[in-house]
Amino acid sequence: MNILELHDVSMVYGQVAALRNVSLTVSPGEWVAVMGASGSGKTTLMNIIGCMDRASHGVVILDGEKLSRMAARDLTAIRRDKIGLIFQQFHLVPYLTAVENIMIAQYYHSMADEKEALQALERVGLQHRARHLPRQLSGGEQQRLCIARALINCPKLVLADEPTGNLDEDNQNTVLDLFHRLHAEGSAIIMVTHAPDVAAHAQRVVHLEFGRIVNDAPRAPHGISSGEPDKCAVGNMAK
């Protein structure tokens, strides 16, 4: 079964057609890069996949669930259970410490667990920053924290909208390393990026132009190939 299927999806904002008849299929564990000029509809696509928005037309099936007809509440539940979101601006709750920012995601999902949250921080190399507030962290650290938060509930699909857009090269590489590990563990990743060298890390690159997919090319596989999602290294396993 595919983790994601889009059939003929369109998104219209008033007069603007942000997406036009987009069809896309993503297998479990697949790493897809989405490229395209600014305004080509990348964020719109991510929002629809991420259950943040509903498509104007077309069918979206996420892990076997048809999103198109769902109420906002059910969309929230699906997002919580299946999706990990990473943004270009590292959105964090400013008054919560690093570990608390992870715990809040656990809390909304099911049950806050500090030990597990600390393990997640360790995984992204931030264990020594657990009690720091977001504003005390560097950009790279903030993005790593966002990644740790996105992964804490073991999402089947990780959505990253220009995750390296605000990072320097060192931090970009750290983040990409994390994505490689994630990929190796079997998570499906959809990653929006401007940069070809970032897109090169993915298995497959989808090009958007004026809301249409104009090119959908697999790349030569590298690193450990994907398989079925097998394990969740950190997260609420016991649920």
């Binding site: 997002r79 709750v93 809040i104």
Partner: protein, 378 residues
């Protein structure tokens, strides 16, 4: 119950770690609490006394002799007094008027119960001190002026007793009385002293009573005395009793009005602050929703902050309200004020209610936040 902990952690951290605009709301609630508790304490405690204080600005019931008699019999007066509700009687003051002579001129000497007179006529001002012994007197202001006597001086009066020869008695002036009334032209002395001089006890010319009951009730009491005690004609001093009731009613309305206005302003202020806070925190709200918060989470967190705020504000307000009430009470009413527990509970409840009401629209606004739109920021 780890998740409860997390909820409180979110709420507390939000209030404590943000350089909080909520401080404005906190102060608003505190101010509201101050006025509410302050007014409440003064209003609850004083009015019951206020009737007394007001009525004490003059008596509202007087007894005179009925028929052709010139004097009241004090035993009859006592009977009449027994018909009055004891806890409502602020003062019952007998006045006995006699004429004596000072340097051959007639002067009215009034015998009265000094302690009681101070209660029924609290506006009397005495320069020097009140008489404590039978041979001490107060000079009315006008008398003092005419005689050029002052506190501490002695004064010789020629007394014509009921029976026997007239004689001269020397008395000590303990103080000068300024009453603003007829008493300024009289000499006042303890009733027992006057009785001893006149060689006759147990009578009075008039008895002034100050009773803390509403007008209609007073009329009923007066009627029962007229019917039940012969020799006594009670008269209502109507004008004063009426104005007391009006003043009290107006004061009550004023207290309600001020409290309502202040609570309303508190609500507006808290509401406006909450609204600003929600607007400022749209991103945070959008983010929380994006990572899985439902509307109930968002609402609970804001209301949680509201409740905490209301509690802290109320506590602050109660402390300062208590000072406020004490100061008002001491300086305006010259008495201590007590703080009933129910008022504390009521202040807390009212603060909560006002804050929750004020949060209603802001919380709806927070629940309306669309995560896709707020996080899109390019």
């Amino acid at each position: 119950m780890k998740n409860h902990n997390m909820f409180f952690r979110i709420v507390f951290c939000s209030l404590l770690r943000r350089r909080s605009r909520m401080l404005a709301a906190l102060l608003a609630v505190a101010l509201g609490g101050t006025v509410f508790l302050g007014m409440g304490a003064v209003y609850y405690d004083i009015p019951r006394q206020m009737g007394r204080e007001f009525r004490s600005y003059g008596s509202n019931l007087i007894f005179v002799a009925s028929g052709h008699a010139l004097t009241l019999n004090l035993t009859q007066v006592e009977k009449a007094a027994s018909l009055l509700p004891a806890d409502k009687v602020i003062g019952l003051t007998p006045f006995r008027y006699e004429t004596m002579y000072y340097t051959l001129r007639g002067v009215t000497v009034v015998g009265t119960d000094m302690a009681s007179a101070r209660k029924t006529s609290p506006y009397w001002r005495v320069q020097g001190r009140w008489p404590e012994k039978d041979a001490e007197i107060l000079l009315g202001m006008d008398v003092a002026e005419q005689t050029q006597l002052y506190a501490g001086a002695s004064l010789s009066l020629e007394v014509v007793p009921r029976t026997g020869e007239k004689f001269v008695k020397t008395l000590t002036v303990s103080g000068i009385l300024r009453s603003g009334g007829a008493e300024d032209g009289f000499i006042l002395m303890p009733l027992s002293g006057l009785e001893a001089l006149m060689g006759e006890a147990g009578t009075a010319s008039v008895v002034e009573a100050s009773i803390a009951v509403p007008g209609e009730e007073l009329a009923v009491l007066a009627e029962s005395i007229r019917a039940g005690v012969p020799g006594i004609a009670p008269r209502l001093v109507k004008r004063i009793a009426d104005s007391e009731t009006t003043v009290l009613a107006r004061l009550r309305a004023l207290v309600y009005l001020v409290t309502a206005v202040v609570l309303f302003l508190t609500m507006i202020c808290v509401g406006a602050t909450m609204m600003t806070v929600v607007m400022e925190r749209r991103r945070e709200i959008g983010l929380k929703k994006a990572i899985g918060a439902e509307n109930k989470h968002i609402a609970a967190e804001f209301l949680g902050e509201g409740v905490l705020l209301a509690g802290a504000g109320a506590l602050l307000g109660m402390v300062s309200g208590w000072f406020f009430a004490r100061i008002v009470s001491l300086s305006v009413f010259e008495r201590e004020v007590s703080l009933p527990f129910f008022l504390v509970a009521l202040t807390l409840l009212t603060s909560l209610l006002v804050t929750l009401l004020a949060s209603f629209i802001p919380v709806l606004r927070a629940m309306d936040v669309d995560p896709a739109q707020t996080l899109r920021g390019e």
